[in-house]
């Protein structure tokens, strides 16, 4: 499947994946992050249950302490 991840096309060797799968595959290991799929914010509690579909636009960024 192909998705757009942070404005770049990315291909994954699978037909379906959850947000948690993507985090593992991409090694997005830092604990606090924001993930949006097609403009919708995905809460941390829903990473296991939210499916990313072919063609989805996924945005991810880390939240670093400091302000």
């Amino acid at each position: 499947m192909k998705i757009v991840l942070n404005n770049r096309e990315e291909e994954f060797e699978r037909d379906v994946m959850t947000v948690s799968d993507m985090i593992t595959l991409k090694n997005f290991s830092f604990k606090l992050k924001i993930i949006k799929i097609n403009g919708k914010l995905i809460l941390r509690d829903n990473y296991d249950s939210t499916v990313i579909n072919d063609g989805d636009n996924v945005q991810m960024f880390y939240l670093m302490s400091g302000g």
């Binding site: 960024f61 880390y62 939240l63 670093m64 400091g66 302000g67």
Partner: protein
């Protein structure tokens, strides 16, 4: 565009600032100098001496609530700016109330958990209101790593997205100031496009 026209436009808008530490205090002052008409500033904390290394306060203000000290400093710069202050800890229930009517919101918290809470709350309960987040400002140097990124019309991020404040990488005035000014600069850009 002439400065008088720009200031007249900016004067009609209201910006919320969540947190009055390094990012919030410097961003607020920048927006006030630019002429944004109303600033809504929320922070529960008081000014302490160690804050002075990077936050827009003065030695004689230690012990004062940050929001009151910041209002005083803004008043000294530009009397025409309305500063509404809330000395509270922001949470999911008071955020929509306090920032009601704001045309955009600046995220200026210290803790990443609070940043996450604010983003979730604004995205869910205040849809369409742009939120400008700061993430990754610790240490010094590395100018080339600092950037500003649009996620979508309602979410923007300023910082290096990498460095977390630690004992080895403390927050320091130059880098904190750059990111606070980037947030203010983006706020002005978005407001200039608003009707």
């Amino acid at each position: 565009m002439k400065i008088a026209v720009i200031e007249k436009h900016l004067g009609k808008f209201r910006v919320g600032i969540a947190g009055a530490g390094g990012l919030g205090s410097n961003c607020a002052v920048s927006l006030a100098r630019a002429g944004v008409g109303t600033l809504v500033i929320a922070d529960f904390d008081i000014v302490e001496e160690f804050n002075l290394s990077r936050q827009y306060y003065f030695r004689d203000q230690t012990g004062l609530p940050k929001v009151l000290a910041l209002r005083e400093n803004i008043n000294r710069i530009n009397k025409a700016i309305t500063v509404l202050t809330y000395q509270v800890k922001l949470d999911t229930s008071n955020i929509p109330e306090i920032f009601k009517g704001c045309h955009l919101i600046i995220e200026a918290f210290d803790s990443a958990e609070m940043k996450e809470m604010l983003i979730g709350t604004v995205q869910e309960k205040m849809p369409g209101i742009p939120l400008i987040v700061g993430s990754g400002l610790a240490g010094w140097g590395k100018n080339e790593d600092i950037k500003c990124r649009k996620i979508d019309d309602s979410l923007y991020i300023c910082g290096d997205e990498t460095l977390e404040t630690t004992e080895e990488f403390p927050p320091m005035a130059p880098r904190v100031g750059i990111i606070a000014a980037m947030q203010a600069n983006l706020a002005v850009e978005l407001i200039m496009k608003m009707e």
